[in-house]
């Protein structure tokens, strides 16, 4: 950047471009360097690590190899089986289902809150924020109680022969989804609510005026208007849900592991950083792809 240092006025201040840039850099540096030092650069170094080898005892050996990616693609010591690809796919599906269900539940919720009168609306909104702020560990293990055998839900399931009597409903994919949906619901409902609150009702009326039935009113007048909130919600749900560790850990056990658990295992018990790095990068790529798609669908990063 070449800078001709002659007086310039910015925001009313008579100064020079160089002075202004220096001051700007001064302000940006601490935060920016912090992020780069502790996230950007380490994240980049994961790329390097993903090509190294795990030593016999769990140390990194600086022997460069494609082994980790091969393993990810399914080539294991026991022949080919696409376990890890399946887990990635399962994570995407888990993210999708969670997002879709949250969206379906959030619409009535958002409209419900926005149609309360001023005084109680605040209460309903607060009631939505409280679980949102409660630590996820608490919210998640709490389902272990609710789904325990002997309580109504498990009894009902046993009655319907969905599980053997006396069994808990967790660990199971069902429990994972219950946990995921309750954890992420507010992430969709809150931005959606702010969209709904700003809704231009005249469009709904125009649609009505122009002979629309209910579904067409929703599709043409409500959906497009709430799309911004919806895509923020979708981003805030899909990405973390896909990489979720805690909920499958506490509610899925080994029955419904997601890629987050796989990564955790590699950086934890298996002490296989190279493979952990490879899986992390796979997840990161999925995230970026999801972002690109959602961005195109109208989500604005700024709204996060």
């Amino acid at each position: 950047m070449k800078i001709i240092d002659k007086p310039e006025i910015l925001y009313g201040e008579l100064s020079t471009p160089r002075k202004i840039r220096t001051r700007g850099l001064l302000r940006i540096s601490p935060g920016m360097l912090w992020i780069m030092l502790f996230l950007s650069i380490p994240a980049l170094s994961l790329i390097v690590i993903s090509f190294t080898t795990r030593g016999a005892y769990g140390e990194i050996e600086w022997v460069f190899t494609l082994e980790n990616y091969k393993r990810l693609a399914g080539y294991s010591l026991f022949g080919w089986s696409p376990d890890y690809l399946k887990i990635l796919l399962r994570s995407i599906i888990a993210g999708l289902i969670t997002t879709v269900v949250c969206i379906i539940l959030s619409y009535p919720l958002a409209f419900f809150i926005s149609t309360r009168d001023k005084a109680t609306r605040y209460l309903w909104l607060t009631a939505l924020i409280i679980p949102f702020w409660t630590n996820l560990v608490i919210r998640t293990y709490a389902w272990q109680i609710v789904l325990a055998p002997g309580l109504p839900i498990a009894k009902l399931a046993a009655l319907l022969h969905l599980v053997p009597p006396g069994s808990p409903l967790y660990p199971s994919p069902f429990a994972v989804y219950i946990g995921m949906i309750s954890a992420f619901l507010p992430f969709v409902a809150l931005p959606l609510y702010s969209s709904v609150e700003k809704l231009d009702w005249s469009l709904v009326e125009a649609a009505n005026d122009l002979y629309c039935g209910k579904w067409r009113v929703f599709h043409q007048a409500i959906l497009p208007q709430t799309l911004p909130g919806l895509s923020v919600g979708a981003i805030l749900t899909f990405i973390p849900a896909m990489g979720m560790f805690l909920i499958p850990d506490l509610l899925g056990g080994a029955k419904y592991m997601l890629v987050g658990n796989l990564i955790q295992q590699q950086f934890g018990k298996s002490r296989d950083w190279p493979f952990g790095a490879a899986v992390s990068l796979a997840l990161m790529s999925l995230t970026l792809i999801a972002l690109v798609i959602l961005n195109r669908k109208g989500g604005k990063m700024e709204m996060l």
Binding site: F78, N261, G268
Partner: protein
């Protein structure tokens, strides 16, 4: 802070144990917990090596830890109580001559089950887990790589340390089938599985004997611990000092203190694990000493096997485990 930091399995010492240690030695202490051998190693590798003074790894992992430079040698001059040990524990295969470690407790991995659900004359068998026809209710398996797979190998009649690929393949298939059964109630750490059986969430769990025994002692007519007839895993946990321990002196003091006859007995009397301390034996609760769940009989001993470090081949078990869990 100037204190002894112990990183140890949960529920592995009486509640007043560390207080007594402080009373006796004037050294303050802090205890942190882990639930599996692998977790311990991961923790030390992720920086814990400079954070803790005493850790309690199990037999088979010690070689790995030494190779990873996670442990330092013991200073025997500061450990006169090493003499109290049983002879068999003075020269173990995994650490001959107690160069790095001193034994803490030993025990087995077996079955805790609910007598009310399985009948008073039930003979403990891992078929309850692995044989589709024998399954009777929700069961919890142990979230510990080598031990879980070891028990499964024992059910298959194989060695817990096999590296035969076809055996391992069969092992994987069996585990995956078991996991997909509707009676599979998850992999839990030892104490966790124990709690689920006690809470009634499962009818049986694979757990460490001492953890189970404490529940059995509380409700002897309800719960039973037994080593499965197909055989199981035997193990010994050992005190060791991480390479970067901040208070090496305290660590030696503590290890020596634990090896004291009285303290060793107090420990085992609470944990209801077997003691490696010959001198302590005389203070051990007599019922425990004669309890085959704690001190297995000679015949049972023959069915039990120690896990060993497989070096480079550990990798088979790691990958297998990841595979099983992710399926």
């Amino acid at each position: 802070a100037n204190e002894l930091r112990v990183l140890i399995w949960s529920e592995y010492m009486p509640e007043d144990f560390m207080d007594n240690f402080t009373k006796d030695t004037g050294i303050k202490s802090r205890v942190e917990l882990y639930e599996s051998t692998e977790e311990l190693v991961a923790k030390l590798q992720a920086g814990g090596v400079k954070q803790y003074d005493v850790v309690v790894p199990s037999d088979y992992i010690i070689n790995t830890m030494i190779k990873l430079n996670l442990l330092q040698k013991l200073d025997h001059s500061k450990l006169p109580n090493l003499a109290n040990l049983e002879d068999s524990f003075k020269n173990t295969a995994y650490d001959p001559g107690n160069e790095y470690t001193a034994p803490y407790q030993w025990g087995t991995v077996g079955m805790l089950y609910n007598k009310e659900k399985l009948g008073a004359d039930y003979v403990a068998s891992t078929a309850l887990f692995f044989d589709p026809a024998s399954r009777k209710g929700p069961v919890v398996m142990i979230d510990s790589i080598r031990e879980m797979l070891g028990i499964a190998l024992k059910y298959m009649g194989k060695s817990v340390n096999t590296i035969d690929k076809s055996d391992l393949k069969a092992l994987a298939d069996m585990m995956i089938e078991t996991k997909s059964s509707k009676y599979f109630a998850g992999f839990d750490v030892g104490t966790g599985g124990r709690s689920k059986v006690v809470a009634g969430t499962a009818i049986a769990a694979l757990v460490y004997n001492g953890d189970a025994m404490r529940a059995v002692t509380e409700a002897p007519d309800k719960f039973v611990f037994a080593n499965p007839k197909e055989g199981g895993v035997i193990w010994a946990d050992n005190m060791a000092i991480p390479a970067g321990a901040p208070h090496v002196d305290y660590a030696h003091t503590f290890i020596n203190w634990v090896l004291d006859a009285n303290n060793g007995a107090a420990l085992s009397n609470w944990t209801q694990y077997a003691t490696p301390n010959k001198a302590a034996k005389e203070f051990i609760t007599p019922e425990d000493l004669s309890n085959p769940a704690i001190y297995p009989s000679q015949e049972t001993m023959k069915t039990l096997e120690f896990i060993t470090d497989l070096g480079k081949d550990n990798r088979y078990y790691d990958e297998l485990w990841t595979m099983i869990k992710t399926r």
